[in-house]
Symmetry: D2
Subunit: 364 residues, 4 copies
């Protein structure tokens, strides 16, 4: 697929960590052109470069096109909306009600709002999209548009920890092997907590066996993603029980998940599983979306992989890297999954959602 | 209990990491006097201080008493044995058969061999002791002495990862709540791999989801420890199923375990569990052994504890620190356990075993 | 020296990181009894244990004696002063003028104020004490008392980076070898920045070649410490030129300094230097102060020492550990120095100052 | 410049860390085609992919073209030579005499030997090339060819720590400001020690103030690089005195240098220095070599830069990033320099040397 004219996009929360990741990843994007950068009142009115003085934390330079863009006040919804067809929402504030309100305001202005925030994840008519799994949920956008009274709408992505274990499970279920129970243990990177985030005193010679709110998200969000659109809402898939324990570890990028799972009835052989995973491909691959990994799942044969530093960037940092598939002494199988939390799990995942929306005709 | 005359002890493998930990912890021990330091032929004949030039890796000085001890060749079994009543075996070689052979040779010379090595853990008449749990297994020493044809014998301790989850489970079982299934996920410190051990290139901005041989030990050893002496052997407790996934993380000392468990029949309330743990006390406490922690189990109420750097040294680094007890979405309960792997899990655990042997009259 | 009755002390800023270090180190102190814990209004009125819920960051428990002390509002100067003879000032606020004001208010109430803050370091009649170097500066307290109009006074300690290079230089100067120039490069631990302090994203796979304000302090403070009391003021020793470059590195505790120095005229031999250092002893040693290290300077012969993790705790964490003395290709000599920044460089150093004041009769 | 036909290259020591970096960086190189991979006898005869099973440590996949190349025995000089026009020498053995011998054997077979090893750095007719500085030294190759009795020759690159401080100094000298003295303090990444290299026990919560042999190289090699070819040899520039102190820090890639320098006579202003650096460009830029950075020197204005993780990859990881230029209290100026040690400082630097040789007609 090629695009006639680039789509004009804005970033809400552009000066924050996720916003900076969007800027980094959208540099030279074949479909999207960044035209608006919105942030808090404090930054508004300044050229972006000036607004992030001593706060640009990417390991690449600020894209040249964006250095001089004057930052908008994110509350000036109409002014920002007039410039864009789509916005990426990555507010870094703790007030979820406020985020929800602003995402709706932007949608009501007719924009596609592609969100990284958790505020709208449980809104009934808002699809929570992991493109390789539930691209079909997009059809609920029609319902949402009615509520908004405009062509605008909101699409969200799940929490950054989810894809490392959910994509492989979905591949198995799609092949006819329903999963009933999972115990998931995550070792999560510090970039997931933003900046300044986790203090270094807590991450030198240490790990923290707790991340606020993370276990709840890791357990519940899969039920919506694996659900199905029935009438005007998404029915959760409540028969998959997940117990998640989330740890913070001194890794910059890359969330690791150690998974034990039990099938509901039929249990595939190890070879069947490896086959299913290596052949798994989905809509983003068929549509050849720019940010789609060639393979949604990559399996490493080495006994000590995946490792965050060595494997997180595989396939544009957008694949899920698996390893160590073996029998479980208590359930059926165990494996390890890894995905890049700020690429696949945040800005990269948001961009893939946006590409899917374009390719499926929801943005034009 | 007080001792008339200090017991003379030797260390087999004194120049290695575990050996150095023994030296550090035995400094000023009220019952034991280090009189022999044995190592490979390469070190033998040199004063200990010289033998470890540029290789002493403790954060304390070499104990003054030991600096000038001339290192023995560990293969000169008789020469070493003549000096000691007991030896701590912490060979750092990979040939388990050789370790087994030498531990037996020392036992046959009449010594108590208190071992950290895994070589004899599955020898039928060798007890694998975690003093708070299975001190009663010591009675099999009588059987073993017959085989040795001497008053000598071997006692081993389990793998360093085991106590962080097994002590709390045992406390529950002893109170009448049998555990049927456990899924355990460990985050283990690099000191567990010795020196040089894990390369820094693998531990900066990284974790490794694999430790060779560790999962097997973590799953199997509890069955022997929870077993019972029947006649001339220890019957394993095979009804406890454990699935262990072991990760290496960039922490110096302190193994963390995230545990989900399911009871066989009766399920205690959260309050009951906390009560059982806070009241748990056992033989080493009753005997007031010098290295016994005041409380075998310490529970932290804070939501983000235990943490290795902050909690590993609690109660002489000999307690197991627990936290985050909560319901599990798949099994019954979940919690986090921490124990200091080079103290409680290695040299400190060995010394506690030795103290138990003295207090119970097996060494005199 | 022994004390008849323990001296009652308070901690101003008790809930902060340095305050917590004071509490940890003062536990069971033979001369001092902690009776008052003062902090901001937010904490006041609560039992200390409650005030630091989820914020106690030491690797030891809160001392039992202090758990139930009700926190005072640090602004209630009289109320706090009535309980104590001495206060340790470790405010964690950025407003230096305010700190200065409060330290004076406490002094005017008749208390000895032993400060870790930088606010009064350049006040003319306030001595900046490194006890092994300039204990004689205490005599300026008499001048200060006049200004205060009370028996109270303020004594400060220098920045945490200073002792690792200044004590060894002073020892050489005292032996007749005046130093003219020094280029100092520090590798400083994150605990020096307090909590939350340096973000972990900046300290994993990274170092930062900059610490705000640190180079200025490292260059200037030695001039006052090495100065001499003349009449009513301290004359700076302006003939010692120091160039300091300060780096932040991912180490929990322990500041390292790489030093190149040039002597003014006479240049000692390497043997002379080692001799001077190994024989160096001063007032705190003579007075046998509880927190005085046995040796103010410890020299390690190994080619790769001192190292923060292995050497910072030597001699109660109060000595300066040196190593790698060798010729410099540009100046005369080079060496590496290490001192524990939160012990010797902060709370421990403050306690040693307090002990010196008691032993010299300034507090009774 | 474009190339008619790709030049066939081999890698001596292909299975080691530097060898793997060469493979990673040469993937899709416009001028070079990897046709031979040589290693020790142990690996020879195996497809490369098999030879590095569990030992491929790059964060990218093995290039497809190289996976099936059968590894040669590096000692089969003729067999390897027949396939290539040039070899990159990155032996990972400690026997320098042996490396020297083999590099000569390959040169005598007519090959251009581009070496990362230190074995031939002080061979009189072997140029030690940092292309932006001493590309003119290549003319000594004619002398060397006579000694070899072939068109083959050896070119070496300096130690990985050198460019971070030498390129900026050279730029100043070329502009007429001769430097007389430098005190350099390096904070070096662990990848510089290869694999397994530095143990993680030494790099968690620690730094090491010593790297074997590194200070000597850092002090001496600049004298040869800044020297000039006179007749049949390179005269060292002995009037530049450098004192280097080298530290190992827990950083994966990127060597940092803190530099204080004194000019011989004329001293430029800060603005002049910044101007000289920002305008500095040299032969590799003029020739537009594929691996040449656009700017050999990049200056960052932020007060806390350069930082290894954020800046090491700037300009293809081939520039030297500088920051913090300011007056020195003891010498004239101070600054901080950073270069990527495994890219610019090892394989990338070797490739740039190779490109220079091709562009200058020494390889055809």
């Amino acid at each position: 697929m090629s695009i006639q004219k680039k789509i004009k996009v804005g970033i809400l929360g552009a000066t924050g960590m996720v916003g900076q990741n969007y800027l980094k990843l959208l540099d030279n994007h074949p479909w999207f052109e960044v035209v608006a950068l919105a942030a808090s009142e404090k930054s508004s009115g300044k050229p972006f470069q000036e607004a992030v003085t001593n706060r640009w934390l990417m390991d690449t330079e600020i894209p040249d096109d964006c250095k001089e863009i004057v930052v908008d006040d994110v509350k000036e919804v109409r002014a920002v909306s007039e410039k864009c067809q789509m916005v990426f929402s990555c507010f870094e504030i703790s007030d979820k009600e406020l985020i929800k309100e602003y995402e709706e305001l932007y949608a009501k202005e007719g924009l596609a709002v592609v969100s990284n925030a958790s505020a709208n994840r449980w809104t009934e008519d808002v699809p929570m999209i992991l493109p390789e799994i539930n691209h079909k949920h997009l059809k609920i956008i029609d319902i949402q548009r009615k509520r908004m009274g405009s062509q605008g709408f909101i699409v969200v992505k799940p929490n950054c920890s989810v894809q490392s274990y959910l994509t492989p499970v979905f591949a198995l279920e799609q092949a006819g092997f329903e999963v009933e129970k999972m115990i998931v243990n995550t070792l999560q990177a510090v970039s997931g907590a933003g900046y300044p985030g986790v203090p270094s005193l807590s991450m030198i010679d240490n790990v923290i066996p707790y991340i606020s709110g993370e276990e709840e998200k890791s357990e519940k969000e899969p039920q919506k993603i694996l659900g199905s659109v029935v009438g005007e809402k998404i029915n959760n898939r409540s028969t998959l029980n997940i117990s998640a324990h989330c740890n913070r570890v001194p890794v910059v990028d890359g969330h690791l998940a150690c998974v034990s799972l039990k099938f509901a009835e039929k249990k595939p052989s190890r070879e069947e599983i490896l086959n299913i995973w290596s052949n798994f491909s989905s809509k983003p691959q068929k549509l050849n979306l720019p940010f789609a990994p060639l393979n949604p799942i990559t399996y490493k044969e080495e006994e000590n992989r995946p490792q965050p530093r060595l494997d997180r960037n595989t396939d544009k940092a957008m694949t899920v890297t698996l390893g160590r598939l073996r029998e479980c002494k208590v359930f059926d199988y165990r494996f390890v999954g890894l995905s890049h939390n700020t690429a696949r799990g945040a800005a990269g995942g948001g961009i893939l959602n946006a590409e899917l929306l374009v390719a499926e005709g929801y943005v034009s």
